[in-house]
Point group: C2
Chain length 198, copies 2
């Protein structure tokens, strides 16, 4: 990586942590200057605007989230086990969030939905990735005889994502792992009982 | 109501809408000035600080949310029907959010969790109210023979709140009622099948 690209990546990573804690609206360029140890000019040498920095920071945050899911899903072959592993990644946010400030998908979704269509579209893309992954897992599992053929793949995908992201919100709000633990146990039981075939 | 108190309430209500769309960090006093048609001094005659205005605005937002739940739960006597009515209030956010910008409990929780302990504690209190309401409904239902005695009231409360708030997030993000509709149908089926006794 060229030196300039390395610095750009480092700024994006440090800004991602600031934005994930304080929000894109709540964090100022002075906060980013303090975190990076750079002057304003040093930051804007690499980014045209705060908006461009926000997008690069979100992309960095998503790379951290994707890594967690890739690690968590690795080694599972039965479709029902893949679905449960997906839940377990969110459950692990209780003791090891993908970055400081919690889930950047949740945080950025709630902040950007009314105010920042470019950022909102990037969050949508991550959620659509998760939906596709769950739907494909269900369909492959049905073909392989691992998942009950009557399973509503789209409903299951939306319910799994909604429940676990809602539990991330509650866990942070209440300062307790219980919401993530209970949401995981509840959906895991539902998958074992209603979705797993063999 | 005295004239001063009326003005204070009107400012809090108008600020609540601004904060619920743009966030407490994202909305400026100029935004509030524009919405209320008041000068800065006119606003600060009624509030000591932006923080105090944010708390009054959140209290107003919560009063709107409470009204929706009071209306939605009215007229249901069977404990299982009360639980389903609780889900239905969130489902109705798809076409009629409690205020512009969506659910103020979700929005304020995500924004305040790391940065504003006073506001965070007020959001916690609303979530604790919901948890108590659901737990009490389950316990009363068990006593009356309406709810299966093995029902885990605390798990059900956390899962219901997490799933529906997560679905509110997804519905706004994706611009679609499907997440709320699917979350409602899924949990309703679970309650009818696993929780309702008679």
């Amino acid at each position: 990586m060229r030196k300039g690209e390395e610095t750009r990546q480092r700024i994006a990573a440090q800004a991602a942590a600031i934005f994930n804690v304080a929000g894109y609206g709540g964090a100022s360029i002075s906060d980013i200057m303090q975190a990076t140890g750079l002057e304003k000019g040093g930051i804007y040498r690499h980014f045209d605007s705060k908006e461009q920095l926000a997008l690069a920071a979100f992309d960095y945050a998503v790379s951290q989230v994707r890594r967690r899911f890739a690690e968590g899903l690795m080694g599972h072959t039965h479709a029902a086990d893949v679905l449960i592993a997906f839940l377990a990644v969110f459950r692990s946010y209780a003791w090891q969030p993908p970055m400081v400030g919690g889930c950047p998908v949740l945080n950025t979704a709630v902040e950007s939905d009314d105010t920042n269509p470019v950022l909102r579209d990037r969050v949508r893309a991550v959620v659509e990735e998760w939906r596709s992954m769950i739907r494909n897992t269900v369909h492959t599992g049905i073909d392989r005889g691992e998942i009950r053929p009557e399973t509503d793949a789209d409903q299951l995908a939306l319910v799994m994502i909604a429940t676990m992201e809602g539990a991330v919100m509650l866990a942070k709000l209440l300062g307790s792992a219980a919401p993530l633990e209970q949401a995981y146990q509840y959906l895991r039981t539902c998958i074992e009982r209603d979705v797993r075939l063999a």
